[in-house]
Symmetry: C2
């Protein structure tokens, strides 16, 4: 495998399809969006993402969750947790988000994504208004108290190196599109905030469809 | 970056969402599918994929083309054309197809994908009936005559090494789901065959929706 540069760019031609984003919006009944959940392990990223996915389905909107652990089982199964691999992990996920939104879809990504520069790079791949950084705010103490997967205990014992917030950095978003405090807000309230955010941005229609 | 193994599998938990594939099918009005176009450079893979994407949109179905050159500009911009990089190129694209079909979508991939083993590996990621290998059959002589991008000329002169069909192998599919001969069949006829294939498999409803 070569470096990050494009080794053969002069022989590659970018092709655009004939189905525009406006046409996709008209057919799907919603706009494209990447909703990017970032926060410490145990903060509630995946729980929020899957809850939003279900709430969107209740409104007739099909979306899809890219979950950190799931992607590491497949697309990024070759990557570990070194700083270099974390960068590549987020770069690839960002490109997948870009593909889903190019397709007109709503994609929900749930990754620790500890580095601000990596998150900014993903945002920069998207058109304005197509990327929503959601900071899942929860104190390290609370995440460690929850320790749903027992990972903090392993990190403290040294069994897991490079653990964000414990032995590796987590850079808090300076200007996220939304902050959700999962220590004090209910899941329902967080989902309502997320739906409002997508409505305000015009991704979703202003109110749920009413059955005849 | 480490090898292809999963270096931290014991600390990763696979999570399933709450929106089933059946629910997605009901909401979208079609089933999930990966339509995998394989063939020599210049055989017509991208042309067919984009034509199918447009024909599906005319039936109200949103799909998305993963095009070899486009993916090499982004997700796989770090990969070249060595045998190892070709394998990794197709592996990643296969995983992206899997994500789209998990999301309930129809994804159309247009890659030379010269190795039968790599194509089989992508098929194996999909549930039965979710993957359609389409062999875009066109003789090397005809592809070279077309030489739309001028690549065969460069390959013959040695300016491009490892060129499938010229200086690198292309393994013809032994048992594809569909064979389309772009030297003798019109684009419209090929698209009709593709739609029939998706209808027969139950991915699409049997006939186009009729306007009231």
């Amino acid at each position: 495998m070569k470096g990050r540069e494009n080794p053969v760019s002069e022989n590659i031609t970018y092709t655009h399809g004939n189905v525009s984003l406006d046409r996709r919006r008209a057919l799907l009944g919603h706009g494209p969006a990447t909703v990017w959940f970032t926060g410490l392990s145990g903060s509630g990223k995946s729980t929020l993402a899957f809850a939003l996915e279900a709430a969107l389905a209740d409104r007739g909107v099909v979306s899809y969750v890219l979950d950190g652990d799931n992607i590491r089982h497949a697309l990024n199964a070759d990557l570990g947790f070194s700083p270099e691999d974390r960068v590549e992990n987020i770069r690839r996920v960002g490109e997948v988000c870009k593909l889903f939104t190019d397709a007109g879809q709503i994609v929900l990504s749930a990754f620790i994504s500890p580095y601000a520069a990596d998150r900014a790079a993903v945002r920069d791949k998207h058109p304005p208004g197509g990327f929503f950084e959601v900071f899942v705010s929860c104190s390290l103490a609370e995440c460690e108290r929850r320790d749903v997967k027992g990972l903090y205990q392993k990190a403290r014992s040294g069994a897991i190196p490079d653990f964000s917030g414990v032995s590796a950095p987590y850079e808090i978003p300076v200007c996220p599109d939304l902050i959700l405090d999962t220590a004090t807000c209910s899941l329902d309230l967080c989902v309502t905030d997320l739906l409002s955010c997508l409505e305000a941005a015009g991704v979703l229609a202003g109110s749920p469809p009413v059955s005849p």
